[in-house]
């Protein structure tokens, strides 16, 4: 295991090193928060879930086995957190509030706003499973197999989610956006 890799840091964190765990948080926070933003559609709700994800990862670091990638492991925790949050009616109400607040604080950059609106429009059409699969495959450049491992789903299911999500997304985009 190469020193300085996520997996080597995770091994140190397993021995109780909070400094190693801090490096892991620093390296993976963008991935986890970005992934959760695709799933929830809300930056505030995603950041709350991301905090819980890393906290749970710290509690469970003892059970981490360096068989797969650390990224896959942490994404799986994030996805499980998202699913649990979704099941909770109370949390859903809180998330709705966060969506409202987000709508008021959307960034001013015109191109950014346009891109976010397109993405929001696409995400709204997708099921959570399709969102998760597409966020990992398109957003994070993971292979189908890596996404399947991270989400704890069969490979064929992930392929199907990506294929159907892709069809829906392309249908939602205007011809200008698709063929320009």
């Amino acid at each position: 295991m190469t020193p300085g890799t996520d997996e080597a840091l995770a091994k140190e964190a397993k021995r109780g090193s909070t400094a190693a765990f801090e490096s892991l948080v620093r390296r993976n926070q963008s991935l986890v928060r970005g992934f959760l933003r695709r799933l929830t559609g809300s930056a505030a709700a995603a950041d709350d879930l991301a905090q819980e994800t890393f906290l749970l990862a710290w509690r469970r670091i003892g059970s981490y086995e360096a068989k797969g990638s650390f990224k896959g492991w942490i994404v799986r925790i994030a996805y499980t957190q998202f699913l649990q949050e979704r099941r909770s009616r109370q949390s859903a109400a809180r998330r709705d509030e966060a969506y409202m607040m987000d709508a008021e604080t959307v960034q001013n950059d015109a191109a950014g706003v346009e891109a976010k609106l397109d993405l929001d429009r696409i995400l709204a059409l997708l099921s959570p499973e399709q969102r998760a699969a597409m966020a990992l495959c398109y957003g994070e450049g993971m292979s189908h197999q890596e996404a399947a491992d991270a989400l704890g789903l069969p490979l064929g299911t992930v392929k199907s989610h990506v294929l159907r999500g892709r069809e829906k997304a392309l249908q939602a985009l205007t011809p200008r956006e698709v063929r320009a």
Partner: protein
């Protein structure tokens, strides 16, 4: 990580567009220290409270163990002493009280080790 699979039998421009949208839209910055500090503050708090719990739990476990097993120490010590007597014929005699003390010390050590590991 690879993405060659995306072009199999499909328009690579469409995939490039989707990749760009998913990768660039609203992504949090790398090395966002505010977020990292927020997480680590909670992690440190959790780590220190776990340590404090262990520190408090070890003596509590020992005290509980001693209180729970104290009435049994005498009879159990006598039984073990009797059973071990043939083996200890040439050794200095250990009375039931001495054996009880040894057992209590071993139980306390075990409880402390358990508390340290959990």
């Amino acid at each position: 990580m690879n993405s060659h699979w995306m072009t199999n039998g499909r328009d690579p421009d469409d995939d490039a567009l989707l990749r760009a949208m998913f990768a660039e839209g609203d992504r949090p910055p790398y090395g966002d220290e505010t977020f990292v500090k927020g997480v680590m503050a909670r992690v440190e708090k959790q780590a220190s409270s776990a340590q404090a719990w262990r520190a408090a739990a070890a003596p509590a476990l020992i005290a509980f163990g001693a209180a729970a097993f104290y009435p049994l120490l005498g009879p159990v010590g006598a039984v073990i002493g009797q059973a071990a007597a043939p083996l200890l014929q040439n050794a200095p005699a250990i009375g039931a009280g001495g054996l009880s003390l040894l057992m209590a010390a071993a139980a306390a050590g075990g409880a402390w080790l358990y508390a340290e590991r959990t």
